[in-house]
Symmetry: C2
Subunit: 318 residues, 2 copies
């Protein structure tokens, strides 16, 4: 049994891959000569926006739910989230045939609430504060006996998120940089564990908005620092870095780069227009970091993880 509060191993990530394979898409890796010309690098986009529920989050949630012991599983799983993790957990629970209890803030976008309900989850609304979310979830857990599944501070989740890099490196073993965005740190830590186990020389670089640079500051200072502002357009990256991911990041990540809001929007639009895929602002963050640091990446073979594509088409940032 995996200890959910210790770093997973490459064996855990490979086991997670076997668990989720029948349910998750092996997402395509796209290339663009326009991006390669602009960066003078060879760039490989691992398209998790084309994953089930439209985000890499399905990998971790699917692994956590499907590996839960039967005794716990039968009482269901719970989480609080207004984002992709809620949908991911709801679909994973539906696949296992168990209940998912999702606490959502009462101001959550209707389309996200509908998506979560559509996967059969039971939604409980609460006030829009972290405190209210946590205490409401605690109540739900108490009443139902469901197992809480944290979106990133959980080894099963981190192992699941690492499977994306596993697939990317199976297809392109000669990458020398992989750059995912960093929010809570589940994807960055899982990617670092997977990639460094396969090739210790590969550089793992996190990308983060300047407006929510807690991972950057924590990485530089060596101790976990809180996020001060949550104003960034990259809604998936507004969370604070988790403790478990931070331990892994300190050990295995080479650098963290930050980018401005304008650069995020402009990179997002560039990818929509030139690659014809819908990417959410969070995954435009590493694209912007790539565009802003041309000298650093010139001549390299760079993997970018496109984390998701869930955006509101009525509210585009241009």
């Amino acid at each position: 049994m995996i200890d959910i509060l210790s770093a997973p191993t490459i064996a855990d990530i490979k086991a997670a891959h076997q668990v989720i394979k029948p349910y998750a898409h092996c997402t395509p890796v796209l290339t663009s000569s326009i991006v390669n010309d602009r960066t003078e690098a060879s760039v490989f986009f691992k398209c998790e926006n084309l994953q089930k529920v439209g985000a890499f989050k399905f990998r971790g949630a699917c692994n956590a739910v499907l590996t839960l012991p039967e005794q716990e599983a039968k009482k269901g799983v719970g989480t609080h989230s207004s984002g992709n993790h809620a949908q991911a957990l709801a679909l994973a629970a539906k696949i296992r045939g168990i209940k998912a209890y999702v606490v959502m803030p009462e101001n959550a976008p209707k389309v996200k609430v509908a998506a979560v309900k559509n996967y059969g989850a039971e939604v409980t609304f609460c006030e829009a504060s972290l405190e209210a979310r946590e205490s409401t979830l605690a109540d739900v857990i108490m009443q139902t006996g469901a197992t809480p599944v944290h979106p990133y501070n959980d080894a099963r989740i981190i192992a699941g998120q690492g499977t994306s890099a596993l697939e990317l490196l199976e297809e392109h073993p000669d990458l020398n940089v992989i750059m995912p965005p960093v929010g809570g740190g589940g994807l960055l830590s899982g990617t670092a564990l997977a990639a460094k186990s396969i090739n210790p020389d590969i550089q793992i670089i996190g990308a983060e908005p300047e407006e929510a640079d807690d991972a950057f500051r924590s990485f530089k200072s060596g101790k976990l620092e809180p996020v001060y502002s949550t104003k960034t357009i990259a809604d998936g990256l507004r969370t604070s870095l988790g403790e478990l991911p931070f331990g892994i990041i300190k050990k295995h990540v080479d650098d963290i780069l930050t980018v401005s809001e304008e650069d995020i929007i402009s990179a997002m639009r560039f990818i929509w227009e030139r690659m014809n895929i819908i990417i959410e602002p969070s995954c435009a963050v590493p694209v912007a970091a790539l565009f802003n640091n041309k000298e650093r990446f010139k001549g390299h073979r760079v993997g970018i993880i496109i984390t998701g594509g869930n955006v509101d088409l009525n509210n585009l940032p241009w």
Copy 2:
């Protein structure tokens, strides 16, 4: 040597595939459980919106340009187009290292003109009428000795467009329906030739906007009928069906379905939101036909060719 005014054979399509393979993407085939649930069918989307220049048109143009005899090629190639064929021909000429002369109407969107110029083509502007386009192209051909490459009334183009169905059936040999949209007819005829040669029992169904239903009327009457209106939002399908494609369509296509403008827009938005890919209105046409004819496609394994993704993000239809 292929006779450009006779129907290509499956051997021509396979030869075209070998010619273009080093330059064209083997585009991914995506599936969506949400689409499958809605239609009660198994639907496979061949994503030519992720092709070079963002459209299947690159396949045909690439085959035509790369198979041109050296004597002709060195004087360049020419066409009139304000759409994807212009970009496709420009990139194919750039790959071969020859000139492309493109006649564009003076009201062509700036972004399209810029894209064509970006691939190194020489652009000549003319009035926005078919007459002016044809006579201007004739002048350019006269002056330069370039070889004109028609967007669909050309066996080399049809053979190239057929390679998309070839790849789709290599990956999913058990499809029993393939449904491309129909404008000039290059894609529909190439798809029908490729698919029926591989499996004579596969149904080939064209999809067309009601607002530009010349292929539907021609198919029903058995003689080539002109397009009366070009008001459809599906800008790639405003052209009249070509003679060469029509001969092939009469022989090998099983049916043509038409859809309304509202259904096109609603299907387009559905795919953007649920599949996170950018598709242009033209390829929402077969998606709308699929949604509108549930009983007909229920239980079938349906291939849809997503023809392209070139849209103006400042001018979306919702």
